[in-house]
Amino acid sequence: MNGAPTTMKFDSTWVRNNIFLGMTFKEYVKSNFTKFNAVVALILLLGIPVIFYRLLYGLGPSTNLSDNNPWGIWIGFDMLCGVALAAGGFVIGTAVHIFGMKEYGFLFRPAVLTGFLGYLFAIIALTFDLGRYYRLPYPMFVSWGVTSVLFLVAWHVALYLSCQFVEWCPAIFEWLNMKRARKIFIKATLGATIFGVCLSMLHQSALGSIFLLMPEKLHPLWYSDYIPLWFFMSAVAGGIAMTIVESAASHRIFSHQIKVHDPDHLNRVTLGLGKAASVTLFAYFFMKVIGLAHGNNWAYLNTPYGYLYLFEVLGFVLIPALIFMYAVQNNLVGWVRGCAVVTIVGIILNRLDHSIIAFNWHLAWKDRYVPSWMEVVLTITVITIGILTFQWIMNRMPILYEHPDYEPEQH
C-alpha cells in the first residue's frame, strides 16, 4: 500500500501482499500446517467424496429421504437454521444505518460478512438437496410460480444475497485498493440496507410460512397462523445472539489485527446486544403463548410432544430472556455470551422441531425420518468450507479493523 495508487496492479508483490499475507508462496504453504487445518483436511477428505457420491448417484443412495419424508436436515438444518442465524447482517445493518446507532458500527462489517456467507452456504447446501440442482435458476428465469411461498423465498434470498454483497463491497474494494468503486458502494449502503430489511422481514417469515400448507403434518403446537411472526422474531433473536458470539470469537481469534483493542467498548456493546436479545426473546415468548392460546392447544402440553415444546419454549426462550435481563443489569458480559450460545441452540432446536421432529408426527416410528451419515457429513463439510472462506476473508480484508488509508464510512 505504497501511497495508495488509484489503479491496481496485479504484479507479484500485489499477490504476495494480498493473497499470501506478505509471505512467499513457500512460507505461506508452510504456515498452513496447523492443528486446525489438519482437522479441516480430515473433514474435507471424507466430505468431498460424499458430495460427489450425492451428485453422481442421486438422493436415494445418499440420504434417508422417502416419499413420506421429502425433506431432511439439508432443508431443516442447513437452510432453515443457516438463514435464521445469518440474520445478524440485517439486524446490525438496521441498527447502524437506519437507527444511526454509531457505537455498533464496528460490528457491521463482520455481521454482513457472516450474513453473506451464511446465505451463500445455505444456498450451496440447498443445491445438493434439489433433485435437479442444475435448474436452480428456473424460478427466476423460466417459470414463475407466484402462488408459492417458496417462490418468494427463492427470489428474496437471491436478492438479499446481492444486497449483502453490496454492503460487503466497500471492504473488498479497500482490499483491492479501488477508491472510486468503494465510494460508489458506500453510497449504496443505505439503499441496500433498507431493501435488505424488507427482504429479510419477508423471507425470514416466509421460511416459516412454507409450513402453513401442512396443517395435517405439523404438530398443532408448532402449527399456527403465527408461524411467519414466530420465524421472523426468532430470526432477529438468532441474529443478535450470533453477533454476540461471533464478535467475541473473532476479537479473540483475530486479535492481532486490531491495533487499538478496547475490550471495554466490546463489552459495552455486548451488553447492549444482550438487552436487545432479552427484549426480542420476551416478545417472541409472548407471541408463542398467544399462538398457543389462539389455537387453543393447551391440552397438548401434557403429552410427549408437549414436553418437547415446553423444553424449547421455556428452556431456550423464556429462561435465556430472563438471564439476559439479569446479566445486563449486573454487567455480566460472560453470562451474556453464554446465554447467546443457549439462544442459538434454541433456534436450531426450533427449526428442527418444525421441519423434522414435530413434522409427520402422526406417522408410525418406522416411517419417520432419521438422517443418514452422509447427510450429516455433507452438512458438516459445507459448514467447514464456510468457516474456511470466512477465515480466508478475515485474514485479508479490513473487516474487523478500519483500513489505515480510508476514512470511516459515511453516507
Binding site: 436415494g60 443412495p61 434439489l130 433433485g131 428456473y138 423460466v142 410460480g145 417462490f151 440496507t193 402453513l212
Partner: protein, 312 residues
C-alpha cells in the same frame, strides 16, 4: 352537518343500496363451491363394492408404462401385499389397500388410493415453477420439464400422493396419477383403472352428476353407507370421491383435513408482500432522516454555544 358531508353520506347510502341490489348469490370470503371448472370430470369410488383384485394397479402401470410390471395373473395371485398399508411410490401411481371390516371381519374392505385431483390443489400452489396445472376437465397434471426437484409438492399434499424418483440421479421426477389426462381428453375416453374394473367399483363422469349419484346411493340404500361423500368438501372438494360403509378414518382416510382449500392457507401471508415493500422503506427513511436531523440540530447547538463563548 355541512353539504359536502351530507353528499358523502348520500353516496355511501347509495353504494350500500346498490350493493344489496346486486344479489349475485355468492358470498364474499366463502371458501367452498368456488366456481372453478363446473364441467370437470370425476370418479366416484364405492369401497363397498371393491373385491381387491388389483387389476386397476396393473392397468395403471400398463398404460403409464411404469417399470417392474408383472403379468395380470401374478397381480391377482399376489395377496401378500395386503399385509401392510401401502402408499403411492415412484413406480406405482395407485395402490389398493386392505382394511379390517368392523362389521364383518371375514370380508376386508379394499380401498384404492391415488391422486384425488383437488379443486384447488395444494401441490400446484406450492410449486415455485408452476409445474402443476389443474386442467378444466379435472386432472391435476405435472410437467417434468419445469421441475427443479424441491419436493415441496410432496410435503404440501394433504393426501400424501406425489412420490419422487429418488434413485434417478440426473433427471428425477415427481410422479403421481394423471387421471389418464391423455385418455379422458379424447371424446368418450375413460381412465385405464376405471375401464378394467370387473365389478364397477368406480364410476367416471361429470363431477356434479357424481355428487348427485353418491347422495342418491346413500339415500336409496339405508344402512349400507355412512352418510358422507369423502372428497365432496374435503380441502375445498376433489375430483375423486369415495363412499364407505364404515367411518372413513377406519379405512385410511384423514377426516381432520377440513374444508378450506390448501392454497388459502398461505394467501394471507403472500398478500403482505407488497405492503411490506411500501411501508418499511417509508418508515426506514423516516427514521433515518429523523435521526440525521436530530444530529444536525445537536451539532448546530454546540456550534452556537461555542460561538457565544468565543464572542465573549
Amino acid at each position: 352537518m355541512d353539504t359536502s358531508r351530507r353528499n358523502f353520506m348520500k353516496v355511501l347510502a347509495g353504494l350500500g343500496l346498490s350493493a344489496s341490489l346486486c344479489e349475485t348469490g355468492t358470498a364474499l370470503g366463502d371458501d367452498l363451491r368456488l366456481p372453478g371448472y363446473p364441467n370437470q370430470f370425476g370418479v366416484l369410488v364405492d369401497t363397498t363394492v371393491c373385491i381387491g383384485c388389483r387389476r386397476c394397479e396393473w392397468a395403471c402401470k400398463e398404460w403409464n408404462k411404469l417399470p417392474n410390471q408383472i403379468t395380470l395373473r401374478d397381480y391377482e395371485k399376489d395377496q401378500s401385499v395386503f399385509q401392510e398399508i401401502r402408499r403411492t411410490h415412484a413406480d406405482s401411481y395407485t395402490v389398493v389397500n386392505s382394511f379390517e371390516n368392523p362389521r364383518d371381519p371375514s370380508k376386508p374392505i379394499f380401498v384404492k388410493k391415488q391422486c384425488m385431483h383437488c379443486y384447488e390443489p395444494g401441490c400446484a400452489s406450492s410449486c415455485f415453477v408452476r409445474a402443476f396445472t389443474k386442467r378444466p376437465i379435472g386432472p391435476v397434471t405435472y410437467d417434468a420439464s419445469l421441475c427443479v426437484g424441491c419436493r415441496y409438492c410432496m410435503a404440501a399434499c394433504p393426501f400424501d400422493i406425489p412420490a419422487y424418483q429418488y434413485n434417478n440421479p440426473w433427471t428425477p421426477e415427481v410422479t403421481k396419477c394423471t387421471f389418464c389426462f391423455d385418455r379422458i381428453s379424447q371424446a368418450g375416453g375413460i381412465p385405464a383403472c376405471v375401464s378394467i374394473c370387473p365389478v364397477e367399483t368406480m364410476t367416471f363422469g361429470k363431477r356434479t352428476d357424481l355428487i348427485d349419484l353418491a347422495h342418491k346411493k346413500i339415500r336409496d340404500n339405508p344402512g349400507r353407507y355412512v352418510n358422507r361423500v369423502y372428497g365432496e368438501n374435503e380441502v375445498g372438494g376433489t375430483s375423486w370421491m369415495y363412499l364407505s360403509a364404515v367411518p372413513f378414518d377406519r379405512i385410511g382416510f384423514r377426516t381432520d383435513l377440513g374444508t378450506a382449500p390448501i392454497p388459502t392457507l398461505s394467501k394471507p401471508f403472500l398478500s403482505l408482500v407488497s405492503p411490506v415493500f411500501i411501508v418499511i422503506p417509508a418508515l426506514a427513511m423516516g427514521m433515518y432522516s429523523f435521526k440525521k436531523r436530530r444530529d444536525q440540530l445537536e451539532k448546530d447547538e454546540i456550534n452556537k454555544a461555542l460561538d457565544k463563548k468565543e464572542g465573549k
